[in-house]
Symmetry: C2
Subunit: 270 residues, 2 copies
Amino acid sequence: MRKNKYLISPNINNNALTVNVRGIDQHNNPVDNKIIQERALTIFLNNQEIVTLMSIGDYPKYLSVGYLLNQNMLKLTDRIKSIEYDSDIGVIVVRTNRKTNYETILRKKITTSGCAQGTVFGDIYEEIQKRKIKSRLKISPKSIYEISKKINLTPSLYLEAGAVHGCVIIKNDRPIIYMEDVGRHNAVDKITGYMFLNKIKTSDKIFYTTGRLTSEMVIKTVKMSIPILISRSGFTSWGVDLAVKTNLTLIGRAKGKKYIVLSGMHRIKL
Amino acid sequence: MRKNKYLISPNINNNALTVNVRGIDQHNNPVDNKIIQERALTIFLNNQEIVTLMSIGDYPKYLSVGYLLNQNMLKLTDRIKSIEYDSDIGVIVVRTNRKTNYETILRKKITTSGCAQGTVFGDIYEEIQKRKIKSRLKISPKSIYEISKKINLTPSLYLEAGAVHGCVIIKNDRPIIYMEDVGRHNAVDKITGYMFLNKIKTSDKIFYTTGRLTSEMVIKTVKMSIPILISRSGFTSWGVDLAVKTNLTLIGRAKGKKYIVLSGMHRIKL
């Protein structure tokens, strides 16, 4: 059934990710509904409690490492000594050789996190504005269509139960990494963690998301040095501003054969 | 054009809410795109900086009061002395007669906010589980359909520019309050603030949202004592759990004549 071979994707046969709830439909008939499970995951970096996230619960290792990288709490040069996950209590501990202490960042979060886009700005926003994506990767209009089609045909938790966002990494028109979660930022973080731990090159990849092209999506794509970001949803102004500043190609409203590019048009093959 | 008279709704003619960006479409033709503006709004309660939210920027007074109420930082019994908004620097200061100090709550946020649903749990989650919605309001299958239809036909920023969520308050099958924002939690907070400041009764109202029925949506609906929550989107498990515990009627996937009820079925008229 699956037309593309993924390196990793949601396991739709994992019963722990969904739960059946009995309800009624518009005719007052009883119906059984598969709905997405949410679990709390508390992330520790060494001996410091960093955050408690609500997640669907798969790939906690990738989620925690990706979260810490995207929050600038793990560095690309860090050696990870161990990752211990206790599923009973929903706690994961990432240990590094480097001694870490993020009390100051954690305090700063208080006043900067609006959660409006599900993330933290502050220093990260300042830092990202200075970066420029240099990759010469290009994409053709036909590829944009083909990629969306392949992703839509992939078995997913979204098709099974709805109420999740998906993020996908594409190489040579082929989707290779697929992550889903209740919040799109968790799905991106899992992708970041997976690519980092498996040392996957980023500059020749394309990033697809089902969610909106907000500043947060752009920040995480730029942090990963991925040159092209595609979404079936729309744009927000900060997302576009940041994409222009960082030379990221931003393709939105990709549905059927339609799409709109609002930044980095030079990467569209004519 | 507008078929329903709203007490308040997004002003789609307000040019400050959107920005025009030139891009290209799938035929490489230049296109002008209206996209949603995002602005930072920093909320102070008395002399304490509470949070910086990303918002579309309309109704900052309702957003800030609603946010503070939903975070338990303003009490229903509080007297608001003044609300000062400085649009140039994006700062709003809410002043109360009661002296406030939320340093402890703000600290707690560090470890409890996963942002996964764009909100803070902690004490709020504990508190909400003890509440029971008592309203005897009922809704017929026909009303569910009519309400969705009326909302979909309302002129909105979503129809103008996409990439926003909408939240609507309904009375006697008539949508009366419509708020939109980049994050659905901001849209709810604006509704909370508007209803509080205008002393609008909540127990005879229905709440409609375009977003998913997450725990956060349920928490805010229960906090407002609104008995019925409808969405065109799907459910998450914590949302359903909480709705069952609090006796909230949860109607999801309301599209066309279809819908599914997973909690509080006794409020559906047969």
